[in-house]
């Protein structure tokens, strides 16, 4: 809202929109006059943010009509990345793209077409629908880094991920690798309010973050050592008589196997691995187990640890089970899929993808859990009990590093086309140098985006996509929650932008999928999804205007009625699902991807411990760097380094420093701070420089301060179950930048 704007003038319509610049999708009221949004503010009646709006939400209008937005379809003329474009019509673009995809499909099979996505804040079933109908199994996001491994492992164990935390009734909450103070504002507010009423807050995080500063207990563990901590906590709970035997007897199988398995994982064993004291490890386990009911809040940290991720997630999940903090009031609840509405999975046309094509999903031979083998099993189990399956788009994806390798090497088979939508892979996917190589090499690339990102700059076609205020948005936790929050668009897309839904639909129709897209607009599709709720409305907009959200009545202890959606019908501490897939049914200990104990030679060259990937205001991944009002507040990349370590390397505050791993190096400025342990380095993610020319070879400085230059996607560094790659718990070295040094990404 702008004080020069009269919000009470004639002809103003107030639209119930949402922010859309992060997952929270806070409610926003948009004041619209003559088809233009003249002001926005937080929606005081939206249940999550209640009128609050963070920095990103506030600049919505600067984002909406920013001079650097892509507004018309662009076709490449000249060489890839040269920056020469021709403006064409949507129809021409789609026709040409369809023709090319048809050609590739005829020559190399539909599987030669892959699609890359990002952290989209809402559903993406339209993309999956398109890909299934087209016949390609190679859709992916960087979902591996964000919750999906957690979801799949937890669902394997107890039949659905218990991500619905009943905090209002709980006594303690562990934030495990999550920092809502810098990334999830409504969640942070909820925590703060409950803390005032007595909720104990425990934060497990190597950094002294905004949230850790408010915590009752902070565990600054060694990056990547969460598995050891979780195993030791299980040991303490089981062997010090803190387990909820009654709950276990009634609801779990495999307790004896688990107890035997963790017998050796004592706090004494874990202390040197986690850099915590035995007392601290005992303390956190005891507080959690004896202050029931309690919650464990998921955070991306574990999903991003590569090789140890799966086991760490598995061990963490078991903590709920052995303490009875699952499905009961005040604990972590299984919502199950939405039974009242049509879920995203039901919109995906998964049944149209043949088994032959499913088997070709890249990575599914190596990493079975988040691909068709694992997903099929889990979907089967959940259908039996819940009646529905989790969303395949997100939970059943081609393995991104393997797809990039396929582009580069032609193995297991060539991937010739990449459709990119809502992501800037060179920034967000692991091992940026390899990703960039792949993007440079891929035969055909189409990017749907708001901006001319480095990825878009290398594309053959760039299509302008409508953003936050120009689209309706539904939030249903990636199709895995039973509740829905809904927002409407404030205005129709400006210029020639279109909703990404329409991209997939129109492209699909050009490829012979006409009958499979009966909904003209996103609103039509959403209305179709919500109709079974039985509100008796005619349009989606009516749902937003009159209801805005749908929260079914919470049912605690659903399992008493229906059991758990696992083969045994119980919580499988010893997981048969994982075993059937060829994985360990119990979490095996393995050290962080690169560590000084298992890799002493490497540690000599790279003596410091690196973690990356955490969020920080005001940016979100590689977004918002063009918004001057936000960039002004944090205009240069900074990494965190302890004063002792800095002194060792003669690094002073604000110095430019190279941070290097086996993969390469990039530079950021030094924030010399006590917030991290000596020997720990924390780099900022997302940095690129859109103010520079986004053309080859610099591409907006996309490697210069990019933390993903440092991360690893080698198969052996990925989690064997989910295939998630290693952003955290790596080894690195630092040294000052000399004036004569070149740009980063070497």
């Amino acid at each position: 809202m702008n004080r020069n704007v009269d919000l009470e003038q004639e002809g103003i319509e107030i639209k119930k929109s949402c922010c859309y610049f992060c997952h929270e999708n806070c409610g926003v009221l948009a004041y619209v006059k003559d088809g233009k949004v003249i002001a926005i503010e937080g929606d005081p009646e939206f249940p999550t943010n209640q009128g609050g709006l963070c920095c990103r939400g506030n600049i919505a209008l600067k984002h909406l009509d920013h001079p650097a937005r892509v507004n018309y379809p662009q076709k490449r003329i000249g060489k890839k990345g040269e920056g020469k474009w021709e403006t064409i019509s949507w129809d021409q673009a789609l026709s040409e793209i369809a023709a090319k995809l048809t050609q590739i499909k005829d020559e190399s099979g539909a599987e030669a077409v892959a699609t890359a996505g990002g952290t989209a804040r809402t559903d993406d079933w339209a993309r999956r629908r398109f890909m299934n109908l087209f016949g390609s199994p190679n859709g992916f996001h960087n979902a591996h880094l964000c919750w999906m491994p957690t979801f799949m492992i937890e669902t394997a164990i107890c039949g659905w991920s218990p991500f619905d935390l009943d905090m209002g009734n709980s006594r303690v909450i562990i934030l495990w690798g999550q920092n809502p103070g810098a990334s999830g504002m409504p969640a942070m507010h909820h925590l703060t309010e409950l803390q005032r009423k007595g909720l104990k807050l425990i934060v497990i995080d190597p950094r002294f973050t905004e949230t850790a500063a408010k915590a009752d207990l902070w565990l600054p563990l060694r990056p990547g050592s969460d598995l050891a901590l979780a195993l030791a906590m299980l040991h303490v709970i089981i062997y010090e008589g803190l387990a909820d035997d009654a709950f276990i007897a009634e609801n779990c199988v495999g307790y004896e196997e688990l107890a035997a398995h963790v017998a050796d994982f004592s706090p004494e064993w874990a202390a040197p691995l986690t850099w915590l004291s035995e007392e601290q490890i005992r303390e956190v386990a005891t507080i959690y187990a004896t202050n029931k009911p309690g919650n464990i809040q998921w955070g991306t940290a574990l999903d991003q640890q590569g090789r140890t991720a799966g086991a760490a997630i598995h061990a963490r999940a078991l903590l709920r089970a052995v303490t009875g903090n699952l499905d009961a009031i005040g604990s972590d609840l299984l919502t199950g899929p939405s039974l009242d509405s049509i879920t995203e999975e039901e919109m995906e046309c998964n049944e149209y993808l043949t088994d032959e094509q499913k088997a070709k999903q890249i990575g599914s031979d190596k990493f079975k859990l988040m691909t068709w083998p694992g997903y099929s099993k889990i979907a089967e189990n959940t259908r039996k009990v819940w009646g529905k399956a989790p969303t395949a788009e997100w939970m059943c994806e081609a393995h991104p590093p393997s797809v990039f390798k396929a582009i580069l090497t032609g193995k297991p088979y060539p991937v010739r086309a990449l459709l990119v939508s809502a992501t800037n892979p060179v920034s967000s996917y692991g091992n940026s140098k390899v990703v960039l190589e792949a993007l440079r090499k891929v035969e055909f690339m189409v990017t749907c985006d708001y901006w001319m990102t480095p990825t878009a700059a290398l594309s053959d076609y760039v299509l302008p996509i409508a953003g936050a205020l120009e689209r309706p948005t539904m939030t249903a936790v990636y199709g895995c929650a039973d509740f829905i929050l809904a927002s409407q668009r404030a205005i129709q897309p400006m210029y020639e932008r279109r909703n990404d839904y329409n991209f997939w639909k129109d492209l699909g129709e050009k490829l012979g999928q006409k009958d499979m897209w009966p909904w003209e607009t996103v609103e039509d599709a959403y209305h179709f999804k919500l109709e079974p709720l039985g509100y008796g409305l005619d349009t989606y907009d009516e749902f937003v205007e009159f209801y805005r959200y749908h929260f079914p009545e919470r049912e605690y202890n659903k399992s008493k009625r229906q059991g758990f959606a696992t083969p045994s019908g119980k919580i499988e501490l010893y997981s048969s699902v994982l075993k059937d897939l060829g994985y360990s049914p119990l979490p095996e200990y393995v050290g962080p991807v690169e560590n000084e104990i298992d890799h002493p030679e490497l540690a000599k060259e790279y003596p410091l411990v690196l973690t990356t990937g955490n969020g920080f205001m005001p940016f979100h991944h590689s977004e918002q760097f063009q918004i001057q009002e936000l960039r002004y507040l944090r205009h240069e990349p900074y990494f965190q380094i302890n004063p002792d370590t800095a002194a060792q390397y003669s690094i002073k505050e604000d110095d430019w420093v190279w941070i290097e791993t086996q993969r390469g190096r990039m530079k950021q400025k030094a924030d010399v701070t006590q917030a991290v342990a000596p020997r720990v380095i924390v780099t900022q993610r997302g940095w690129w420089f859109p103010e520079r020319e986004v053309v080859e070879p610099d591409l907006g400085g996309c490697l210069e301060s990019n933390t993903n230059v440092l991360t690893s996607t080698r198969d052996e560094d990925c989690d064997p179950m989910s295939g998630t790659w290693a952003n955290r718990g790596l080894l690195c070295k630092v040294y000052k930048v000399k004036d004569t040094d070149g740009k980063g990404g070497n």
Binding site: H66, P67, A68, F625, Q626, Q628, R631, Y632, L633, R634, H635, E636, D654, F689, P690, E691, R692
Partner: protein
């Protein structure tokens, strides 16, 4: 655009200098006229006093964000700057008229009573002009180096000593062009009287200046608050130490103290120029030391990380 918090700059410092020197010149000219006799100081000196104030006022106007609205500064009688503005105007007018009494060819040059009246007015407003910048700065609780009564004295002394030095220079210049001005029937200033007395006045004021400054810095460093001690550090061992000790204390105060007592016009002239230079240096240092503020928790680090203003992202999407 500057990532440092905005403060007053050199224009205001030079404005203070000219205003102070001009005010001092008017005070000395007026007092000499009232108590020593007519024509003690050169007409040039008298006129220069008023013109310096005018020059200061011009700089003040140029420093404004909206110079064409400068008339507004006369509007708020509660503000020191308003009192200063009015005084500058009145001092200028009174000074020019007072100086004009020294031009024989003008019809009113014989009106002794009127002359005395304007001398009094010049002295009063000249004194206000010479003093008010010091009062203005002294009342800044937000600027640790300025706050407190002490700085008022430093400004008054500086105004008087630079005023006296300027009169010495004016006299030399006036004598040099005396043949031309004789035809205008300008009352001659008795060179010997002026030049006999003023150098001792300058010397005395310089000794006072030395004592006051050393005392001021020492008191700030040891007898006041932590903030003030920190601000004074700049002058003792920080980035002001060289210009302060070498430029102002030595070249601008001690050296001219010696020179101005030596026989011969050359030494006196050089000494006077150095005093004036010292006055400029002092005003610049004082105004710039206003950048030391009563910082709030975490503020300096926050501001040090803000963009400077020439970064590419600020210009990329105009």
């Amino acid at each position: 655009m500057n990532h440092k918090h905005e403060t007053w700059g050199w224009m205001l410092a030079v404005d203070f200098f000219f205003a102070g020197m001009g005010g001092g010149m008017l005070v000395i000219a007026g007092l000499a006229d009232l108590f020593l006799g007519i024509g003690m100081t050169s007409v040039l000196g008298n006129l220069l006093g008023a013109l310096c104030i005018g020059l200061g006022a011009c700089l003040l106007v140029l420093e404004l964000g909206r110079p064409f609205q400068s008339w507004r500064v006369f509007m708020n009688p509660k503000a020191i700057l308003t009192i200063g503005a009015w005084s500058m105007v009145l001092a200028m007018i009174a000074g020019i008229i007072f100086a004009s009494f020294g031009i024989g060819s003008l019809p009113w040059s014989d009106a002794i009573l009127a002359r005395k009246l304007f001398a009094v007015v010049s002295v009063i407003f000249g004194l206000i002009v010479a003093t008010y910048p010091g009062i203005l700065l002294a009342r800044h609780k937000s600027r640790p180096f300025w706050t407190g009564a002490g700085i008022m004295g430093l400004f008054v002394v500086s105004s008087l000593v630079t005023g006296a030095a300027a009169h010495i220079i004016s006299q030399f210049v006036f004598d040099a062009v005396s043949s031309i001005v004789k035809s205008w029937q300008i009352v001659d200033a008795s060179s010997s009287v002026v030049l006999k007395g003023l150098p001792y006045l300058v010397a005395g004021l310089l000794i006072l200046q030395l004592i006051l400054w050393i005392g001021y810095i020492w008191i700030k460093l040891t007898g006041t608050t932590e903030r003030e001690a920190l601000a004074a550090q700049r002058w003792m061992s920080g980035n002001y130490a060289m210009p302060f000790k070498g430029g102002f204390l030595f070249a601008g105060t001690f050296l001219p103290l010696v020179l101005v007592l030596l026989p011969g016009n050359l030494f006196k002239g050089i000494g006077a120029l150095l005093v004036i230079l010292g006055g400029v240096i002092m005003r610049l240092l004082v105004v710039y030391s206003g950048q030391d503020r009563t910082w709030l928790p975490g503020e300096q680090k926050y501001r040090s990380r803000l963009p400077i203003g020439d970064e590419a992202f600020l210009k990329a999407w105009k």
